[in-house]
């Protein structure tokens, strides 16, 4: 890829990604972009799937995405992608909701409304595993994320899987039970900033700028003073909600505050184990496409190790830029 000075990054609404649009609004993006002599446009895509599609199609240079979707959409689509910012893992932001039930085991035989083949599907599989059930023991019904709250108010929907902010709305329903959530599988649902590997290679400035933006914004929003509160209020507003709700969602989002912590998490041996679990689940659900003949078809590069076909690496967990931030070299 050629050297360029202008880049488009897509984002969609999710608690752990709200720092990005806020940084844009607060001028932090411009500050870092100017520093490296480039221009970065953050483009909101209301529909999460569409944002990833646009990235895969090459209309966006980078996108906010989860680890599972980064693997099954762009990587499975043959696009070489690099995850350069590990923002957080879901620590209760995703959950399985039941009505008229005492525990998760009551889900057996029910219709479960969720966004099929998304992290919700993965969470469901992990939840079922914990009560010795299989995916075949329930029937999944694909339901759009924007409509899942409305759907859950309907009497004929008795089980659903969702993420925040929708999950917190569903919890308010009388008689609803949060039967399982992502805090039971820490570190398996990861929220990333992914950019096109070739573009990144030709333009390392993009990676530096993004890492700089991210950690400056994170440290600002963590502050307990008025400034930090103002930042979080602005993010809540951008997400279409209030500060209280947003703070509640942040509580179930395990943000990696410090770049060093993110680098450490990415380099830890459990990281590869969890990634393998996600990958095997994806393959078993046919998400690598009809062409893939084994779970190893797509290579995943992680610090120190490579999972699957090393000759066909399409997803790279690249701590270089977070390391630079940790070292204060940006």
């Amino acid at each position: 890829a050629a050297q360029r000075t202008e880049f488009n990054i897509g984002w969609s609404i999710y608690a752990g990604w709200m720092p990005w649009p806020y940084a844009q609004q607060a001028g932090i993006v411009k500050k870092w972009a100017d520093k490296y002599g480039i221009k970065i446009n953050f483009v909101q895509v209301n529909d999460y799937v569409e944002s990833v599609n646009q990235y895969t199609a090459g209309k966006l240079d980078g996108v906010t995405v989860t680890n599972m979707d980064a693997l099954t959409i762009p990587a499975a689509g043959g696009k070489d992608s690099s995850a350069i910012v590990l923002g957080d893992y879901s620590d209760g932001n995703d959950g399985i909701m039941l009505k008229n039930a005492g525990s998760l085991a009551d889900i057996k035989g029910r219709n479960v409304n969720l966004v099929e083949f998304s992290v919700s599907h993965y969470l469901l599989a992990r939840g079922l595993e914990s009560v010795n059930l299989k995916l075949a023991d329930v029937k999944t019904v694909n339901t759009a994320d924007a409509d899942i709250v409305g759907a859950f108010t309907s009497p004929d929907v008795t089980a659903a899987v969702a993420w925040n902010p929708q999950l917190s709305e569903m919890k308010k329903q009388p008689g609803a039970l949060l039967a399982f959530d992502s805090s039971k599988i820490p570190g398996e649902i990861l929220d990333l900033m992914v950019v096109d590997s070739a573009t990144l290679k030709a333009n390392p400035a993009l990676g530096k700028a993004l890492a700089g933006i991210w950690y400056e914004t994170l440290s600002l929003m963590q502050r307990d003073d008025a400034q930090g509160k103002a930042a979080r209020t602005a993010m809540a507003k951008l997400a279409g909600t209030t500060l209280d709700t947003f703070d509640a969602q942040l509580a179930t989002t395990h943000l990696y505050q410090k770049p060093a912590a993110a680098v450490a998490a990415m380099s830890a041996p459990e990281f590869a184990t969890r990634m393998k679990r996600v990958r095997d689940f994806s393959y078993s659900q046919g998400l690598f496409g009809p062409g893939a003949t084994s779970a190893d078809a797509i290579g995943i590069a992680m610090p120190g190790t490579t999972l699957g076909n090393a000759a066909n690496v399409k997803l790279r967990f690249d701590p270089t830029f977070m390391q630079l931030a940790a070292d204060g070299k940006l």
Partner: protein
């Protein structure tokens, strides 16, 4: 000879009609080939071969989970919803459109309401639909009905309104009551228009069906498209869209044939 007077024969028309479609297909194949020359893994414009192989699987290889042949099962489920929605809408448009077009009192009473409903985008009402009709088949059929019925009613009612006054008067002097005017004068003359309105509604009906299936379903053509949309599986989306178009064209053609056969007197108008 004036351009407007050149009337191509049946065979010429057929050839001419196929030309632009064939040109489009040709342009696609070229574009797809050139994209694949650059990136053999391109998903956006899949090659015809890739589409054929994807379709082959969906048509002939039973799904390991459900044991169904995916394409046929999807088609059956979607057509059931579509036909139910179309049938209910057509029947309602017949009755309501006739009443609105013929009886000024009914028009005064319900005309504004129908106009308002016709102008509310049903997509915006989805949460309310869920609450009222649940998430099953009813909600999907209802979305189709809410989406196309008001437009059909307005169309048909407007047509009934434009039937010549003289005809209505004539029938009344021949002793026709309001009821007889409705069933013997307005209704038969409305039928070709109703079928025409139904043909025009086919497009929107598919839109609402797909939107409904996109939101909550576990089977159906729209469900499949939106499911694989997540993975940019154009090798499935494009043939599915073509298949939907083919089904729609077949329905359209059937309706046009019905109009010609059933209402020969309307041939010229």
């Amino acid at each position: 000879m004036r351009l407007v007077n050149i009337r191509p024969g049946r065979a010429t028309s057929l050839v001419l009609g196929i030309l632009p479609v064939a040109a489009l297909v040709f342009v696609y194949v070229l574009a797809s080939a050139s994209r694949h020359a650059i990136n053999p893994g391109d998903r956006i414009l899949p090659t015809p071969a890739a589409m054929v192989s994807a379709m082959h699987t969906l048509m002939f290889v039973p799904d390991p989970m459900t044991g169904r042949l995916t394409l046929w099962a999807d088609t059956l489920a979607s057509l059931q919803r579509l036909c139910l929605g179309l049938a209910i809408s057509t029947l309602s448009a017949l009755i309501v459109g006739l009443a609105l077009g013929l009886v000024p009192l009914v028009r005064a009473l319900f005309g504004p309401l129908v106009t308002i409903i016709a102008l509310i985008p049903p997509i915006a009402l989805l949460p309310i639909l869920f609450i009222m009709f649940g998430l099953g088949e009813t909600a999907k059929v209802m979305l189709i009905i809410i989406g196309i019925l008001p437009v059909m009613i307005r169309d048909v009612a407007a047509h009934v309104e434009t039937l010549p006054t003289e005809q209505m008067l004539k029938a009344q002097t021949l002793g026709a009551s309001s009821w007889q005017l409705a069933i013997r004068v307005a209704l038969p003359q409305m039928m070709p228009r109703l079928i025409h309105a139904l043909r025009l509604a086919l497009g929107p009906a598919w839109v609402f069906l797909i939107s409904a299936e996109a939101i909550a379903a576990d089977i159906g053509l729209g469900y499949r498209i939106f499911l694989v949309r997540r993975y940019l599986a154009m090798d499935i989306i494009l043939p599915y869209v073509a298949w939907i178009a083919l089904l729609a064209i077949a329905l359209d053609w059937l309706l046009r044939l019905a109009n010609r056969r059933l209402f020969p007197w309307a041939g010229s108008s």
